[in-house]
């Protein structure tokens, strides 16, 4: 097995870690959500990478039948995950709007300082 066979996984891990870094290193709450989205997309790509088969094609039947089809299950799971992801993002953004209203800031450090004063 050639090491290039794992190249896709490594790109996925790189994207995943970039998102992870944004989530833990940046103080702005919106930036954290953006990082979470990067992380999320990398998970989608990981699933789809596993489903792809060499020489396979899209699992949709046409006039001419192909011999090999890519596995349909990852696509189905990820379709569900994308929609659930946008729902959670919407709730997170609504929470951020309320935090901004209540505290006047969406920087984590400032929020910490305000909480310590109280």
């Amino acid at each position: 097995m050639s090491p290039l066979g794992l190249y896709n996984y490594w790109v996925v891990i790189f994207l995943m870690m970039t998102g992870f870094y944004v989530v833990i290193a940046r103080g702005n709450l919106i930036k954290k959500i953006i990082g979470l989205n990067i992380f999320q997309t990398s998970v989608f790509l990981l699933y789809l990478t596993m489903g792809k088969v060499r020489g396979g094609t899209v699992p949709i039947f046409a006039e001419i039948r192909a011999d090999i089809y890519t596995h349909p299950l990852p696509s189905v799971l990820i379709l569900t995950a994308i929609v659930v992801g946008i729902a959670t993002t919407a709730v997170a953004l609504a929470l951020i709007v309320r935090i901004r209203e209540a505290y006047g800031t969406i920087e984590e450090d400032d929020l910490d300082a305000i909480n310590r004063e109280e």
Binding site: R26, I33, G35, F61, S75, V83, V97
Partner: protein, 183 residues
């Protein structure tokens, strides 16, 4: 290969970016590149959804939030080395984990052997729609999809409850996000 490099470069640029507005726009580009890769991985349905939801709806939601909260971002006080170290260690552990993964496109990978007979073989006789993904989504895993709609319903209610009464508290500040009546 070029697409993957572009994807990685976009992600790093988003991570380094100070302007939130530019970061949000780049997230849209990132989603589109991701959708392109999904198309190459034989998942056109997912690519459509990602382009519409990831690059479209998500960007609009982020921009609406930025309009309400402002797009300035303060640099953080402490050094970035601790999170960077945590990320590198996690990444190394994950790369070590991929050593046991089947190679990309391997027809004998575990995922390709189950379920047997596969959805592709069963769909035409049992469901009768040409798109196997639709058949699995709507029929074989129909409860998943029902659960998904429940999640969206719950999220919609949560957003409405969270944003309700903004008009009462913040005078003269009109919400562009949803069309609810002021109370």
């Amino acid at each position: 290969m070029l697409l993957l490099t572009l994807l990685a470069a976009t992600a790093v640029t988003i991570a380094r970016m100070r302007s939130l507005l530019a970061a949000v726009m780049l997230t849209g580009i990132y989603s589109f590149l991701g959708a392109g890769w999904m198309l190459l991985l034989d998942a056109p349905d997912v690519a459509f959804t990602e382009a519409a939801v990831g690059a479209g709806v998500s960007t609009v939601l982020m921009l609406a939030t930025l309009a309400l909260t402002g797009s300035d971002m303060k640099p953080r006080g402490h050094s970035p080395w601790l999170p960077l170290a945590a990320v590198l260690v996690t990444g190394a552990a994950l790369v070590y984990g991929t050593m046991d993964m089947p190679a990309f496109g391997d027809p004998n990978a575990p995922i390709q052997l189950y379920p047997s007979p596969s959805y592709v073989d069963k769909t035409e006789a049992e469901i009768g729609v040409p798109n196997v993904i639709t058949a699995v989504l709507g029929s074989y895993r129909g409860y998943d999809t029902l659960g998904e709609t429940t999640v969206i319903f719950t999220a919609g209610i949560a957003v409405l409850l969270l944003l309700r009464g903004r008009h009462r508290r913040v005078r003269g500040d009109d919400t562009p996000s949803d069309g609810e009546t002021p109370r």
